[in-house]
C-alpha cells in the first residue's frame, strides 16, 4: 500500500500552483486566440435568436436554454467540488429552492422571476451557508452523504408541504410574452446566468480565494497548518456555489411554468451536474462548460435516436464510471496533462 500517492486532479492542481516558466510570446498568442474564439462564439450565440428562419426554431432555442442552464449549474458546482474536492451530490437542492422561492413570489406577490431570480439565488446562498456550517463538521464520504441527506430532507418536506403544493407542485402564471418570442427572453436570461457563472468560476480560479480552496483540496491539514481558515473557506465556497443554481432554478421554473419536487429534487439532477464537471475537468474553468455542452448534446442525440430514458440512465452511469477509472482529470485535465490543451480551452 503506498503512502499518499497523488491522483491526477491533485497533481494538476499542484502543478498549476507552481510558478510555470513560459515563453511570454507564446502566452500572449494563446491569450489572443482564446479571447477571440470566446468572443466569436459569444456573438454567434447572442445573435442566434435573430435568425428566425432557422428550422425548428423553438427547439434550438430550448436546447440553448438547457445548455446555458447546465453550464451555469456545473460551473457553480465546480467552485466547491472542483477545487476543494468536497463532492456535493445533493447540490440541486439549491436549484430547487431557488425555483420554489421565485415561484411563490410570482404566485403570491406577482413578482416576475426575472426580477426575483437574484433574491432566489440569495436564499439559496443562505441555505448553503447554514447547511455548510453543519455538513463541514465532516469530510470525505460523510460529507457527501450529508449533502444527499439535505436534498432528501427538502424533497420529503416540499413533497408534504401545502405551501409548496405538495407532490403536485405549483402551476405558474404564463410569462407575458407573445408565443413567437416566448423562448427568447429565457434564452438571454439563461445565457447571462451562464456567463455569470463562468465569470465567477474564472475569478475564483485566479484569486487567492481559489488558491486557498485548491490548497484545501490538495491537503487540508497542511492548509490549516499554513494558516488558512479551512472551515470558513469551505463554507464560503459552498454558499457561493449555491447562488447561481438558485438563480437558474428561478428562471427555469418560469420557463416551464411549473414547479414540482420531482423536477428539481431528484438525485439524478444533482448527479448530472457532477458528471458534467468531472467529464469536462474538475478544477478548471473550461471543464464544466465543455462537460455541460457535451452531455446535453449527447442527451438530445440519444433521445432522438433511442427514445428511451432508461438508456439515458445507463449511459450517464457508464460515462461516469469510465471517466473516473480512465480519465479522472476530465477532458480539459487530460489534455493539459498530455500538453495538448488547445488555447481556447485554456482559461486557468
Amino acid at each position: 500500500m503506498t503512502d499518499k500517492p497523488l491522483d491526477a486532479v491533485t497533481e494538476t492542481a499542484l502543478v498549476s500552483a507552481e510558478p510555470i516558466v513560459v515563453d511570454p510570446e507564446v502566452e500572449r498568442r494563446r491569450r489572443r486566440v482564446r479571447i477571440t474564439v470566446a468572443l466569436v462564439i459569444l456573438v454567434l450565440v447572442a445573435l442566434l435568436p435573430f435568425y428566425r428562419s432557422l428550422g425548428a426554431y423553438n427547439y434550438v432555442l430550448q436546447i440553448g436554454v438547457s445548455i446555458f442552464a447546465w453550464i451555469a449549474l456545473a460551473s457553480s458546482w465546480n467552485i466547491l467540488g472542483g477545487y476543494t474536492g468536497y463532492i456535493s451530490l445533493g447540490h440541486n437542492v439549491f436549484y430547487g429552492v431557488g425555483a420554489y422561492v421565485s415561484a411563490l413570489l410570482l404566485i403570491h406577490l406577482g413578482i416576475s422571476p426575472f426580477l426575483s431570480a437574484a433574491l432566489a439565488g440569495l436564499v439559496a446562498l443562505a441555505l448553503g451557508l447554514l447547511a455548510g456550517l453543519v455538513t463541514f463538521r465532516t469530510q470525505g464520504p460523510s460529507f457527501i452523504i450529508s449533502t444527499i441527506a439535505l436534498l432528501f430532507i427538502v424533497l420529503v418536506w416540499f413533497d408534504a408541504w401545502s405551501l409548496t403544493g405538495g407532490s403536485n407542485g405549483l402551476s405558474l402564471p404564463l410569462p407575458p410574452f407573445s408565443r413567437e418570442w416566448l423562448r427568447v427572453p429565457f434564452y438571454y436570461a439563461m445565457l447571462l446566468a451562464a456567463l455569470a457563472a463562468v465569470f465567477l468560476g474564472h475569478r475564483v480560479q485566479h484569486s487567492k480565494f481559489g488558491l486557498a480552496l485548491r490548497a484545501i483540496g490538495a491537503d487540508q491539514v497542511k492548509a490549516e497548518v499554513a494558516g488558512i481558515n479551512t472551515r470558513l473557506f469551505k463554507v464560503l465556497a459552498f454558499a457561493l456555489s449555491a447562488f447561481i443554481p438558485g438563480v437558474v432554478g428561478a428562471i427555469f421554473a418560469y420557463s416551464i411554468s411549473y414547479v414540482r419536487p420531482t423536477i428539481f429534487f431528484l438525485i439524478a439532477v444533482g448527479a448530472r451536474m457532477v458528471l458534467m464537471t468531472i467529464i469536462g475537468g474538475r478544477g478548471t474553468v473550461a471543464g464544466p462548460v465543455i462537460g455541460a455542452t457535451l452531455i446535453i448534446l449527447l442527451n438530445e442525440a440519444s433521445l432522438t435516436y433511442f427514445g428511451a430514458t432508461e438508456l439515458n440512465l445507463v449511459i450517464t452511469g457508464a460515462l461516469l464510471v469510465i471517466v473516473l477509472l480512465f480519465f479522472p482529470a476530465g477532458i480539459v485535465g487530460s489534455l493539459r496533462e498530455r500538453g495538448k490543451l488547445p488555447a481556447f480551452l485554456d482559461w486557468d
Binding site: 500500500m1 503506498t2 500517492p5 497523488l6
Partner: protein, 247 residues
C-alpha cells in the same frame, strides 16, 4: 552472502520526489544493525520498501538468495522478513491475546500457535497479565511490547523495527532496548533497526549504517561509529565547528 542484500534502491511516494536515492547494504545473519541519520534521510521509507509496502522505483532486494523486490507484504512475511512499523499498528479493538494470534496469521496449526504464544509471553510477562485487555487501552510501552511480541509469533528470520523507542518515556525505552538486545544477543535474531535515539540504538547493535538525503553515507561497527567525526558533521553540520572557534 549476506542474509538480506539491498542494491541500488530508489524509492518515493506516489509521483513525489525520490526519498531514497541510492541505497545498497548488506544485512548479516545473526547481527543487529542500526540505521541512523537525520530526519528525512529515508530510513523508514527503506524499511517499507523491504517490507513490500512501497514498491521501489529501482534496485533489488534479495533475501537468502531469493529476490524479494516489490513482493506483496504478506509474501515478504511468509519469506521470513517481518516489519514492526513506527506507530504501534496494533489491532485496536482486539485483545492482547487476539493480537498475538493475529501475529501468527500465516500459521494454521493451533497447537503451534499456542506454543509460541507461551514462549513469547515469557519474554513479555506484562502481556500475560493483560492478556484479555483490549489493545487500545494499553500504555505506550505495553503497546510497543505487544508489537514486538506479535512480530515474534511468526518466528521471523529477520526483524525490521522502525523507531522502537518513539514516544516512550526513557525508562520504558530502556526496557524495550533490553528486549531488543536479548533478541539479538540471546536468541541470535537478525535485526534491522531504525532509531532516532542514536546512543541507545547503537548500544544494542553490532553494525551501523548512516543514511542522509536518501543514500548511505558510510557504515561501520556500532561501538566505533559514534567516535567517527563524520557523524558529528552529519548531525550538527558546521555548527560544531563554529562552536569550537573562539568568538
Amino acid at each position: 552472502m549476506a542474509l538480506l542484500e539491498l542494491r541500488g534502491i530508489r524509492a518515493g511516494y506516489g509521483i513525489g520526489p525520490d526519498i531514497v536515492t541510492d541505497v545498497s547494504l548488506d544485512v548479516e545473519a545473526g547481527r543487529t544493525h542500526c540505521l541512523i541519520g537525520p530526519n528525512g534521510a529515508g530510513k523508514s521509507t527503506l524499511l517499507k520498501v523491504i517490507a513490500g509496502l512501497l514498491p521501489p522505483r529501482a534496485g533489488t532486494v534479495v533475501f537468502d538468495g531469493q529476490p524479494l523486490t516489490g513482493r506483496r507484504p504478506d509474501r515478504v512475511l511468509a519469506g521470513g522478513v517481518c516489519f514492526v512499523p513506527q506507530d504501534r499498528n496494533l489491532f485496536p479493538e482486539m485483545t492482547v491475546k487476539e493480537n498475538l494470534v493475529m501475529g501468527a496469521y500465516l500459521v494454521r496449526d493451533r497447537a503451534v500457535i499456542n506454543n509460541r504464544m507461551e514462549r513469547v509471553v515469557e519474554m513479555f510477562p506484562i502481556l500475560a497479565e493483560r492478556s484479555h485487555q483490549v489493545a487500545q487501552t494499553l500504555s505506550g510501552g505495553e503497546q510497543q511490547q505487544l508489537s514486538l511480541a506479535r512480530a515474534l509469533m511468526i518466528e521471523p528470520k529477520v526483524m525490521m523495527i522502525d523507531e522502537p523507542s518513539l514516544g516512550l518515556a526513557p525508562q520504558v525505552a530502556t526496557q524495550i532496548f533490553d528486549v531488543i538486545k536479548r533478541l539479538g544477543a540471546d536468541m541470535g535474531m537478525t535485526l534491522l533497526l531504525v532509531e532516532q535515539n542514536v546512543r541507545m540504538g547503537l548500544a544494542v547493535s553490532d553494525w551501523s549504517f548512516v543514511l542522509d538525503l536518501g543514500s548511505k553515507r558510510f557504515e561501520g561497527p556500532a561501538d566505533a561509529i559514534l567516535d567517527d567525526p563524520r557523524i558529528r558533521d552529519l548531525y550538527l553540520g558546521r555548527l560544531a565547528e563554529r562552536r569550537e572557534r573562539p568568538t
